[in-house]
Each structure stands twice: as C-alpha cells, then as structure tokens.
C-alpha cells in the first residue's frame, strides 16, 4: 500500500519528528513564560473558558441528573421527616431573627451609627456548582456565574454554612472558585472566643484547614469557632470559616499544631453565593480590591 499517511518509507518523512518536537517544545516553553510573566494570555484564557463552559456543563450533567433523580424519588417518610426538621429549623431561626432585630436596635442605639442597621453584605448572587476539582493539589469549583453577571476576581464566596472561598478566574459565563481548603489559599481568621488573629491555610484535603502560625501558649481548644477577621481586603469580618478539630502541642516545636474543619461542606455544596459588601460598613474588609492579588499565595 502506498498510503502517504501510513507509509513506512524511511526516506520521505517530511519534517523529522525531532525537529517538530523541538519546535513544539519551544512553543510550549514560550507559552509558559508569557503566561507566567505577563497578563497577555488572560484574555485568551477568558475566551477559552467560554469554549470550555458547555463541555463542563455536559460533563457535570450526569452527576446533576443523578442528584435530581434521587431527590425526585425520595421516600415520602424521608420528606416528612425533612419537612418536620425544616419546620423546627424555621422556628429556631425565627427566634434568632427576633433576637437579632433586638440586638441590632440595641447596637444602633449604643453606637449611634447610621449604617449599623444594614448588614455588611449588600447583595448576593447564588451560583450553581457545575464542576469541581477536589484533590491534593487543587480544590476548585467551577460555577455558572461569570463576568456577565458582575462577578469579579477576588470576590468572596460563601454558602449556607460559611465561607467557601474566592473567585479566582472569571470567565464570561462561568468562573473558577478557589476553595479555602486549596493548598494555595490562605484566609485571615480570628478565634471567635478570644479574638486572636491568625491565618488558616488550605491543606488540599476536602474541608481541612491548617493553622500553622500559632505559638504554643495560644489559648485555643477543640471546638473553637474561627471567623473571618476582615483583614486582607477580600473577606468581610465575622463570617464563620472553620471549627478547630485538634490541637497538638509538641515540646519540640515552638508552634502549636492546629487542624480545623471548614464550616461549609466544601465537598458537598451544590449552591454557593457571591457576595457584594458595603465598603462603608465597619465589618467590610479594609483596603478592598488592592490586596486582591496578594491573598492567593504565589
């Protein structure tokens, strides 16, 4: 067979494979260099993300369909049980809301602060998780909201439970969220009980955080709640982040080894919310937007 595509004629090979590889390798290295050194490729990425979106949607659809089917065919008993639990929860929340209204009034009177009545969050935007990448190197969500919906880079993302992460790469209709458990992510937190501030770093294990910067004698115990401290310009203060799971104090190290579990269920959330906060509110993060780049560790 004298088929040009599969011919094994040694003499007429066109460009030798070695030369081709050399060319491609140079191209790959150049791409990496440009991508690392400058923002030129960001617009390309933006466009490519738009192309990848339908594929991500399609690939996530079996899981979504399965979830939908399961929810649709849930047993009546389960639903009743859930209903009862939800009613109880609503009562509880109503009580809390009453108490909160009272507290807010008291707060307003005490501080005589015009803005205190309003919550720090000005606007929400819920987003569905359409793809997730949960592994030791990366803990990321892709959600179905992007620049077209007003999402911006570095925007805080929460879920019903607590802090989830921040928008890392924003595409036109989708964006990638770096979770607080991502090994490249750090969130400034405060121990709710004592007020001590520190950083919570991601570990790469779903929902697990590490607090490596606390001295041995720090007053911290299992079960302590960590909330955002509002420093660093990304996250507003006071949102629950994690609860301390274990504290180890080794004589050999000057630092306590503290592990925490995120309040938000980072491997299970299907719906998250982007947050816009009032810049003038006391709980708003200081120096918003300027520190957006620095929060994700290089």
């Amino acid at each position: 067979m004298n088929n040009p595509a599969t011919s094994r004629n040694i003499l007429q090979r066109g460009t030798p494979a070695g030369l081709r590889f050399f060319g491609y390798a140079l191209l790959a290295l150049a791409l990496m260099w440009i991508d690392q050194r400058s923002g030129w490729l960001n617009s390309t990425r933006f466009a490519l993300q738009a192309i990848a979106y339908p594929l991500q949607m399609a690939l996530a659809s079996p899981a979504n369909a399965w979830q939908w089917t399961r929810e649709t065919f849930e047993q009546r008993a389960t639903l009743q049980q859930q209903n009862a639990a939800l009613r109880a929860r609503i009562r509880e929340l109503e009580l809390l809301a009453l108490r909160r209204a009272d507290l807010e009034r008291e707060n307003r009177e005490l501080r005589d602060l015009r803005l205190a009545a309003a919550d720090v969050a000005e606007r929400w935007l819920t987003a569905r998780v359409i793809a997730e990448e949960i592994n030791l190197l990366r803990q990321r969500y892709t959600v179905d909201r992007g620049a077209m919906h007003g999402v911006f880079k570095g925007q805080a993302v929460i879920s019903g439970g607590g802090l989830v992460g921040q928008a890392l790469r924003v595409g036109p209709w989708s964006s990638e969220i770096i979770l607080i458990a991502d090994p490249e992510h750090a969130v400034p937190v405060q121990i709710a009980r004592t007020g001590q501030r520190t950083l919570a770093l991601g570990t790469g294990r779903a929902g697990e955080l590490n607090l490596p910067l606390l001295p041995l004698q720090t007053d911290i115990r299992e079960g302590d709640l960590l909330v955002t401290s509002g420093l660093g310009g990304i996250f507003p203060a006071g949102y629950p982040v994690a609860t301390v799971r274990s504290v180890r104090r080794d004589g050999g190290s000057p630092l306590a080894q503290v592990q925490a579990t995120s309040v938000a269920r980072l491997d299970r959330d299907r719906v998250v919310a982007f947050l816009w906060f009032r810049v003038t509110h006391p709980a708003a993060p200081a120096a918003a937007s300027s520190a957006a780049e620095s929060r994700v560790m290089p």
Partner: protein, 158 residues
C-alpha cells in the same frame, strides 16, 4: 480511504479519552484515574505516528491546560515529549511483546508526570504528595487491554 477512517478513529478515541480524563469522579477514584489522555496519545504515536504525530500530543496537552486552568504549555510540553519519544521508537516498540510494551509505557507515563511535576515546581505551584504519582501505576495496567485494538489497527494499515 484507510488514512481518512483511521483519522476519524483517532479523533473519536482522543475525544473519548479526554472526556474520561476530565469527567468528575469521587475523590478516591479520581486519584487513581488512569491518565487516559496520555495513553491515547501514546497509542496513536506507536500505531500511526504519521497521522497524529507530536502535534497530537501538543494539542491534547494544550486542551488539558485550558480545561484545568494550569499554566499554558505545561501538559503540552509533557505530552509532546511523550509523543516524540514514542514516535522515535515506534517501529521497535510496537513489535515487542506486551510486557515490554507495558514497561515502556510505564516509563513514559513516569516521564510525563515528572515533567508536569517539575513545571509545577518551577512555576511556584503546589507539587503534591505521593498520591500524584498513582496514575503512573494505574495507567500501564490498562495498556495490555489495547492488544486487540492494536492488532485491528495494524490489520487496517496493511
């Protein structure tokens, strides 16, 4: 034409492998997920180096870079390299017994992962623990399954 139908099969199998490579799986399954994209590039580099070639590896790698949002060119370089080595040795390797082929595949998977690992390190990204290397072990386990497919493609070429 033979080449045209082979090209169709190449595109189809590459697409399927890419989907298998990126489809969301539970965490523990995903950690051991065989590197389908590298395997398919290797397969076509050995069976029909003139159709896919180094360009196939580069293209699949670039697609992976885009999909995962890592630095552009990382997987492209690694897969291009794997394709190049496979193409250089294809006449020897594809006539070897299955065991030797599998060893060759395992070595190339290791090289591929080592390149992405090194680039992760150079670009200041997390390089991960030992779990990262698990696909290098699970990938070669799949290779003997391609025996009949290889035979079919070889028949088609003759």
């Amino acid at each position: 034409m033979i080449a045209a139908s082979m090209r169709r099969r190449l595109l189809l199998s590459t697409l399927i492998a890419f989907v298998l490579q990126v489809v969301p799986l539970p965490v523990w399954v995903a950690a051991a997920r065989p590197p389908f994209a590298v395997l398919v590039v290797l397969f076509w580099s050995l069976i029909a180096p003139r159709i896919g070639g180094v360009g196939l590896g580069f293209a699949v790698g670039l697609a992976l870079d885009v999909y995962r949002g890592v630095v552009f060119g990382q997987h492209a370089l690694a897969l291009g390299f794997v394709a190049y080595v496979a193409i250089r040795q294809h006449l020897i390797i594809r006539n070897k017994p299955m065991f030797e082929q599998t060893v060759f595949v395992a070595l190339l998977l290791l090289a591929c992962e080592a390149i992405t690992w090194a680039i992760d390190g150079f670009t200041g990204n997390t390089t991960g623990g030992w779990l990262r290397w698990l696909p290098v072990l699970t990938g070669p386990l799949l290779w003997p399954l391609t025996a009949s497919w290889q035979a079919a493609e070889n028949r088609a070429r003759r």
